[in-house]
Each structure stands twice: as C-alpha cells, then as structure tokens.
Symmetry: C2
Subunit: 231 residues, 2 copies
C-alpha cells in the first residue's frame, strides 16, 4: 500500500536541535553581562520569529538574529570581540559533525530495497546538502528535497513531481507541525517519531489523529508499521 | 532539436549584481573611517572567498562576511551601531524589489508554448524562491531548481531528473563559469547573454567555444537562435 517514504532530516535522521540548544546556552553565557538567560532566550526567539519571513531557516539566519539580539540587549554596547565570538559559535555549528540518530542506518537500509525513499527537509540548502552528503545515508535515498516551508502545497508539489499518490505516501518526522499535519491534510500517511527537544517556532497546538496518523516510539518501529499497513 | 531550455536567474532574468555593487559601495562608505574603498573591497572579497565552502552563496552569507570584514579592518574597534547598519544593508537587499531585465518577459512567454522551461540558479533557497515568486515569470516555468553549485555533475543530475537528453538542452545565462562551461562539458548547448557586472568569485579564465556555444547580445536574440538551431 505504501510505496514512497519521505524522511524529515533534522532530529529525525540526525541530531540538530541539541546543537542549537547547546549554542543557545553558550550565547546566554556570552551575553550574561547584559541580561539573564531567560531574557536572552526570549529576545532571541522574538528576533528569530520577526526575521523568519526575511531570512528563512538555518544557521546563518540564527547567527544574524543572534547578533541583532546582542546589539539590542546591550543597548548597542556589545563589543566587536563579542560579535566575533557569536560568529565563531555559528561557524562551530556549520562545521559540526553529523550525528546520526540511533536505529536510523539499519532502518533506512532495510527499507531501501522495498520502498522509494526521499528526504524532505526545510532549512538552508548549503547546510542540509552538506549534512546529507556527510551522513553516508544518501545512497539509500532517491532524492534530497530542501524546501522553504513544509506546508500542504509544498508536499503536494513534491508528490506530484515524483508521481506519487498521497494515499501511497508515508512521511516520517519529529515535528507535528511540519512533518505530520500537512501530510495528513493532503491525504497521506504520517508517522511521528518524537525527539527530545522541539524548537519553539516549530510547536503547534493542533493534535493529529485519524487512521492515517501513526505514533511511534522509535524509528526502529517503522518496518513493523509498514508491515501492518501492508497486511 | 532543442526541447528544454534552462534559464539562469540572477543577472539573466533579473538584476542582482548591480544591487551587490551598490551595497559594496555603501559598505565601503560606512567603513571609510577605518580604510579606503580598495582595501575594504579586497578584504571583503577575500573573506567571502574563505567563507564560501562554509556559507554557500547569497545575501546572508554576504552579511556575515561583511561583519567579519568590519571587525577585521577596524582591529575590533567597529561599534555595535556600525554592525547594526551592516545588517540593515542586508535587510535592504533581502527586501529589494525584483527588477526584471529588458526583453525577458516577452522572450520567456513567447518560448513557453514550444519548449519546456526551467530556472536553474545557485544561491540561497529562501531568497531565490522569493524572487521567483515576485517575478511574475513563474507561470511560464515548469520548475525552479536552486542548487549549491553549478558544476557538470549538478547539471547532469537535473537533466536526468527531468528526463532530458543533454543534446536537446540549451542553458541561457550571463556566467561563463556557471552557466556555459559546465553545460558544454556534459554535451549540452549554452547561450551566453552578457551582464554589465560579473562577481569576482564568478570569473574564469577558460574560454567557451565549439558548435554548441552561442554568444548572444541580448536575451531577445534567443528565439532567433532557436529558429536557426531547428532548421
């Protein structure tokens, strides 16, 4: 029944939000001379939210918003040396090794023979392409699709391009907002695999449900789900 | 004979490098208290070149390299207010209206009925998608392909995905390095339409040639070229 499986990348195939959380911590420490961590975090989140339409997702967007936050929170007293350290935090993230999540290589390689696998991720094209290539998972996937936003129209366009019927498509990901709800909305199946952190701008109050929604504990449960759906 | 035409976007469909050149000028003015324009330009180019593999192309990359340049050229004396003005320059670029080049709308719409048209551009996914949508040209194109680098492998992959034979493909663009040479290398046709500026990192010493290379004065000459190739 399911013929094509779409995998989210960040926090589904490899760690991402943990790296952002750690960097937030380092930024809060760097700016602790101006304000406490709660204030830094709240201002950074507001700045990222305000810049989202202009910048899109990714580490370079984060870096520019972090610099803007530092200027704002220091009443324009932040030093060039402190700005340099914020840029260095971004470089560390951009150069960070790709840490594959537990169970991913076995699961992906076991499914690659029987299903058409694609990666569908939002974010920065350069950064996502780099992680895809470094992951050693790319031979199992037919395509990497980096998109600006994961909404129903985007998924519909991708499925059309791959000539995939939504009823024969399953999306796997950690984000209810980006990976699950828009796919259910266009008639596809969606399997949620939770991750330990969710970015505040990727949270939603809507709850998924219905027969095409599948809640998994781990990506290792995916072959079992597909077996049940096929029988 | 030609069935599919690929169009470069920046400086082929719409103005881009003129906006960067103007912003370089404003940055040189802003940093003129530290160094003269030649030194600022040379340092910025070197910084962008050094950061290219890490950042990729686009305005956010430019902004981060410009901030790094300002810190370096001021011996870390640049003020937060000056950094804020560099970020404002980047915002102006990101919000800049899309200025379509002369002859483009007529040419693209006249070819859309007879050929499969795609846009192939390197750069930032968010920014290129925004310009594509604002251009009003998107109804004429089957697809926007934003890529991290325009090399022969990238073109081969795109043509394979679109099931296009290189001998039946023509690429149109202003960059000898990115739009012409790699397409000739894989057996395609390439038409060069010059633009008034070429980014220093997009220059090459290699000269194109051979029967599949076509030098045009203007994009308006494209229908005539296609007519000659078909006869």
């Amino acid at each position: 029944m399911i013929k094509t499986i779409g995998f989210d990348a960040d926090d589904t195939l490899w760690h991402n939000e943990t790296i952002f959380v750690a960097t937030h911590g380092r930024l809060c420490e760097l700016l602790s001379v101006y304000h406490d961590a709660d204030k830094v975090d709240a201002t950074l989140n507001a700045t990222e939210h305000r810049n989202l339409a202009r910048y899109g997702y990714g580490i370079k967007s984060f870096a520019l918003s972090a610099i803007e936050t530092a200027i704002e929170l220091s009443d324009a007293q932040v030093s060039a040396e402190e700005i340099r350290r914020i840029i260095a935090l971004a470089h560390d993230m951009l150069d960070h090794p790709v840490e594959i999540l537990d169970g991913v290589p076995e699961t992906v390689s076991s499914l690659a023979g029987d299903y058409h696998l694609i990666v569908i991720t939002k974010g920065d094209l350069r950064d996502q392409s780099r992680k895809y290539q470094l992951s050693d998972l790319d031979p199992h996937f037919a395509e990497l699709e980096v998109v600006t936003e994961k909404d129903p129209d985007t998924y519909a366009r991708i499925l059309q391009r791959h000539r995939v019927n939504p009823a024969e498509f399953l999306m796997v990901g950690n984000s209810i907002k980006s990976d699950i709800l828009p796919v259910l909305d266009i008639g596809g199946h969606a399997a949620h695999v939770p991750y330990q952190h969710t970015w505040v701008l990727d949270k939603t109050d809507r709850q998924p449900g219905g027969p095409r929604y599948h809640a998994l504990d781990s990506i290792a449960d995916l072959p079992g789900l597909l077996h049940r759906l096929a029988s």
